[in-house]
Assembly symmetry: C2
Homo-oligomer: 414 residues x 2
């Protein structure tokens, strides 16, 4: 819609050092801006999954537990994720869903901070809901109480009654990035433990779990890590906490000697203590294959491109979209922005349906948020310009329902 912005997009794409990674993914004509919900398929994954199914399962069968490395996959893949979130090896284990890992992490954090005067589990009030629901259960089952706190108010809310704080690194709805280093330091200064949910940050920006002294963390692998639908989540337990990590889900896979099959439980050392039951091999090895697209990719480069993509999207939307039809909920300042842009739009549902029909795929967060995720491994600047142009077209074609304020002569029923 604007030659200047199209030219700018071309120039940005030409200078993009990550542009070559796009060819690693199975993509089509659509502009896929929903990699913050489900990452695209890396093209080599189907053949790898086929090998797992046909040869490892179909031919080797149980021998694969050793010969194909099935048994050790949760730790091995954890170590592959570790550099993406700034963790040294031996602290991350892959398995179960994010929700289940939130339960492990919150219960274990409460047990690590056993002072009975510390009665409170502070939970990000804007959290993705599952974290709040699960934290509530963890609190109920450990005799604590939940205190919902906006992350901005967390430092003031911390105190001698705080046991644990559970915070999302990036808000799933608005794309706001919370300040992990300073909030973790504040939690520690209050004598509490910090549990971070990295679902919307891992693979999009540097996390620095070790550098910032995070206690425990969880994250999913099907967004920026492209592990596939519902691929297993992960749990980070800082090395200093591992010996005292006391899981509420001490399944046989977390036993020091699982095949001894003894009635008494003795916890394994290290990251394996975070495992529970038999690992879900097909999904886990699809994830392992998918992580290969990160070979040689620095998260810092990804972050730089992510900010450039979201800056450019905001610029194009500002230039193209009818005034007043959308308002960004995502902070302008880089330090507070994840890798998505959330636009409030009165008729968001209808707009998103039309966008998708025209090949621009984002998603809706009810009732009125258009959410666009920017995955630097496979989204380019021309995609961004096109997405903004199509959005502007759709918005121009579908005027918002008149509100009484805009059109006082209309009745609310219009």
């Amino acid at each position: 819609m604007s030659e200047a912005l199209a030219d700018k997009a071309a120039a940005l794409d030409a200078a993009d050092e990550l542009a070559g990674l796009r060819k690693l993914f199975a993509l089509d004509e659509a502009v896929y801006l929903d990699g913050n919900s489900l990452g695209a398929l890396p093209s080599h994954v189907p053949d790898r999954v086929a090998d797992v199914v046909r040869r490892q399962w179909g031919e080797l069968r149980i021998r694969s537990w050793d010969e194909s490395g099935w048994w050790s996959a949760p730790e091995r893949i954890g170590d592959r994720i570790a550099p993406l979130v700034g963790a040294a090896p031996g602290q991350i284990v892959v398995g179960d869903s994010t929700s289940v890992n939130v339960f492990k992490a919150v219960v274990a954090a409460v047990r690590l901070n056993a002072d009975p005067a510390r009665t409170d589990v502070l939970v990000d009030a804007t959290t993705f809901p599952t974290d709040g629901y699960i934290a509530q259960s963890a609190a109920r089952m450990t005799g604590k109480r939940i205190v919902p706190v906006d992350p901005a108010d967390l430092p003031a809310a911390l105190g001698p009654s705080t046991a644990v704080a559970l915070v999302n690194h990036v808000d799933y709805r608005t794309g706001r990035l919370h300040d992990l280093p300073s909030l973790t330091a504040a939690v520690h200064a209050a004598g509490a433990l910090a549990v971070w949910d990295l679902c919307h940050s891992a693979g999009a920006l540097p996390v620095g779990l070790d550098a910032h002294g995070v206690d425990l963390a969880v994250g999913c692998t099907y967004k920026y890590l492209n592990g596939g639908p519902g691929s297993p989540a992960y749990l980070y337990v800082a090395e200093r906490h591992q010996d005292a990590f006391d899981s509420p889900l001490p399944g046989w896979n977390s036993h020091a000697d699982p095949f001894a099959m003894t009635p008494g439980f003795e916890a394994a050392q290290g990251a394996r203590r975070g495992r529970v039951g038999t690992p879900d091999i097909l999904s886990m090895l699809a994830l392992e294959a998918a992580l290969e697209v990160w070979d040689g990719v620095a998260v810092e480069s990804v972050r730089a491109k992510s900010l450039a993509l979201t800056d450019f999207f905001l610029e194009c939307v500002e230039a193209y979209a009818p005034k007043g039809r959308v308002t960004s909920l995502t902070p302008v300042e880089h330090a507070a922005r994840g890798s998505q842009i959330a636009l409030r739009c009165e008729d968001a549902k209808a707009v998103m349906e039309r966008l998708i029909a025209r090949g621009v795929v984002g998603d809706l967060r009810r009732p009125d948020v258009l959410r666009f995720g920017f995955t630097p491994l496979y989204v380019g600047f021309a995609d961004v310009e096109r997405a903004a142009a199509v959005l502007a077209e759709v918005l121009a074609e579908t005027p918002a329902a008149k509100t009484p304020e805009q059109a006082p002569e209309q009745t609310p029923a219009d």
Copy 2:
């Protein structure tokens, strides 16, 4: 090794109404008697998984949550498993590991039986270890205590302090089948709830969950259900308990309106209440495909063949094996036998290694148990005769270390 037994095998195979099912599986020359650990690959599964990966994930991407039926898979696949375990639709949900489902089931059962005088959770003392470890955690987190009880002693151990009994339907080690109808009735007569672990029975014999009034049950899907390595487990909550089912893992997938994303939790109705986080789609849909081999197969026929297979194996071992080298731990009476034979053997580890090298695949349960699973969908009677013959050869070639009793002139160090 015996023409008579080889002839008998041929006659039994010729009369086997399930014999035609073997061609549905990817099998080779080996006699695979480890389907009670990891079921064989149904031959159509690789193409189905490839479609899930390439088309559903790679092309449709997030649209597949609706268009490919991803979102409803946990209940849909639960309903596919239901007839195999004697459950009406709407009571089984697939997802998470068996261990995680044991946690849900035991905690929920304790909450369903809220009388504070009922302080005890009785757990099968011979249980697969993970059930015991997890039940211990569930008891710890709900203020109950664990009482380990041999299933044979369960009726006597039940009483006014019993809240819940957790029992394995078939013992993973010995293959002993516990009497689900009578034990469930005894548990109910004591005013307690019965939670059954069906890992080693579902798909091998009729379970009759509804008919026998079981309260809650869990099971895995990678043994007799052939779902693939680490495929998702399932949870059964009897319909009469669903409204009061209070999960310790109330993830967003168990919310009445997950996409409302409200901070307050409101539990879904029905089986979906047993869900937790985002379902693991690749593994789940591999399982769904694998279950198609059950189309038109009656579990009663499977049970009849299973008993014939294990009877015949015992007969062949008795005829072929050197006297005194192995002793069956599996009950002779049909009513107490699952679908495996466990043979105690002093040098079990070395024997199993040699068996596997010669194409007879069972497994070892430390220290001294040779375990052979008989999966009626793809194991035939000639397989059984061959397995016993090879076992006899191996045993004859590798005389057991002499024990003082057998060879009093030897020292124990021999």
